[in-house]
Amino acid sequence: MGPDGTPGGWLARGWRRARRRPASVAGALVVLGFVVLALGAPWIARTDPLKIDWSQIRKPPSLAHPFGTDDLGRDGLARVVWGTRISMQAGVFSILFAIAIGVPTGLVAGYYRGALDGVVMRLTDAWLAFPFLILAIGLVTILGPSLVNATLAIGLGATPTFIRLTRGLVLAAQEEDYVQAARALGGGDARLMARHILPNVVSAILVQATVSIPTAIIAEAVLSFLGLGVQPPAPSWGTMLNAAQQFLESAPWMAWWPGLAIFSLTLAFNLAGDGLRDALDPRDY
């Protein structure tokens, strides 16, 4: 019996709800498919995404090149598949970075409150005032354009959201009777935070991550599109779209696939995230 009195607890409950939301399950499967593409890129893409072939410049989709070829005769399919890896890296690592900084900061600020909390909140206010792209542009100006710096910039942009989310949840959790009880029993600060407060935060952070990752994936594509992220010839969906822009009339397929890939991945993430929010929401039985 689970804590809510139904067999199997949250896993079974989650599954029962998942069946009610086929769109979310489909989204999760598509995300999974992209993960497989990202991990298996070397085996799935049969051609080298960087191999230039001057005899195959801007060829429309065919059997040999199902996604066509680009302005340097490179295989579109191979580049989209390898691009998955870059997008996933940027999306996942930037949000992991934001969580790694944001959650402990929000936890400490919410737990101790007082002056420390005030300082942290003013900092996040100022931080949030930089529109993401402007922040990224500022950082890239200082650090120089690359995948790592773009990931860092995206992660930094997402950090205040996680600080605020964690802080709010910690403030609420502290009022709970069992936390008060644990404190009365002589639990130390570290123990209280790790054992009693943090578990309250986890599911909300997970849900926020599913919202933040697709945003981060688009952000990486935008930065690379502007030339501020991944540098050519690396196959990023953003750099591919940048190149495609110059050949819209003669080779429109160059613009179709990378964009379709971003669109389907972010849509799938959003669908899966909606389902996860529903499945993890303890209020709704």
Binding site: P131, I134, F225, L226, A255, F263, T266
Partner: protein
């Protein structure tokens, strides 16, 4: 009320101070001699000395900071390395173009989001609601630069209805200007429309279940009158707040959209500035954007308190 205004104003001032510190520090983090960074690589000794003199680069760092803030407050943001034009003037020239784009896209977003959101709320849990939600989810997921490229492909390349890019000033040729701004405004507006539609729908669902709405119905008012006269006013309050918070996304979106449609506004300016390593220009643009965001949100908060009397009362009670 006054209490609330003061508190919000003070918080915004603190935020602005932190922002200026961050921007100031950012420029110091660029490797190399700060005078060289601010004057450009092709500046001669005299030019370097001029910059050192102006910003007091031999003074202690806190003094340098205060001097820089003082100049910025008087509207002196330095000179662009590339054009030798004052940064403030360069920005002032480009800003109206971006403001036009942003206002148009805001119009597009509101024109789509509010009717769609209200409609979805009234037809809650029907196929129409599902359709509206699906479209909004797609709007949230589609990268706007790709949408822009696809629109150019369809509307300009295939159909030849609108010019793909370029810009003519509004005052010179209003029709030509709007023709060229239509697609960028639509592209920039869709993401915002998706967010606002969801917000409007949720807010309207909540408002429609309120007691006073039931009262209005029981007076014998038709749905049309209830929605338009009673519900919408309260339903739009949270939408105004979200609108303020979305300004950052709108600014980021403008950078990309201007790049695709070759609109010579603020966004193109900043991307060019990064590529030409025009640090004073980047610094000025970042400072202005962040400050604008803070001020817009302050205004939104204040207008919110005017729209919603409950906040005013709470503020007054605290002051008493």
């Amino acid at each position: 009320m006054l209490d609330y205004l003061l508190q919000r104003g003070l918080l915004s001032l603190v935020t602005l101070a932190v922002i200026s510190l961050v921007v100031f520090t950012g420029v110091r983090l660029i490797p190399g001699d700060p005078a060289r960074v601010l004057a450009g690589t092709d500046a001669d000794e005299a030019g370097l000395d001029e910059v050192r003199e102006k910003y007091g680069l031999n003074d202690p760092i806190p003094v340098q900071y205060l001097r820089w803030v003082g100049l910025a407050l008087r509207g002196d943001l330095g000179e662009s390395i590339r054009t030798r034009e004052p940064v403030a003037r360069t920005v002032a020239m480009k800003l109206p173009i971006t403001l036009e784009l942003a206002s148009l896209s805001l119009l597009v977003a509101l024109a789509i989001a509010i009717p769609a959101g209200v409609f979805a709320a009234l037809r809650r849990n029907t196929a129409w609601d599902a359709l509206a939600n699906g479209v909004s989810l797609c709007g949230l997921s589609v990268p706007n630069f790709w949408l822009g490229i696809m629109l150019i492909l369809l509307v300009s390349v295939r159909l030849g209805w609108l010019p793909a890019s370029g810009f003519v000033p509004l005052l010179e040729d209003p029709l030509g200007n709007v023709k060229r701004m239509l697609m960028p405004a639509f592209v920039l507006g869709t993401g915002l429309a998706a967010v606002l539609m969801r917000q409007t729908r949720n807010a309207m669902i909540e408002v429609m279940s309120a007691d006073y709405i039931r009262t209005a119905y029981s007076k014998g008012l038709r749905q049309r009158a209830v929605v338009l006269r009673h519900a919408i006013r309260n339903g739009l309050i949270p939408v105004v707040t979200i609108l303020g918070l979305q300004m950052g996304a709108l600014m980021s979106g403008a950078v990309v959209t201007e790049q695709i449609f070759v609109v010579p506004g603020f966004g193109r300016l900043i991307v060019e500035a990064v590529f030409t390593r025009d640090y004073p220009l980047v610094q000025g643009v970042v400072l202005i954007t962040a400050s604008a965001y803070v001020l817009i949100n302050l205004l939104v908060d204040l207008s919110y308190s005017l729209l919603n009397p409950r906040i005013r009362i709470r503020g007054a009670a605290r002051g008493a």
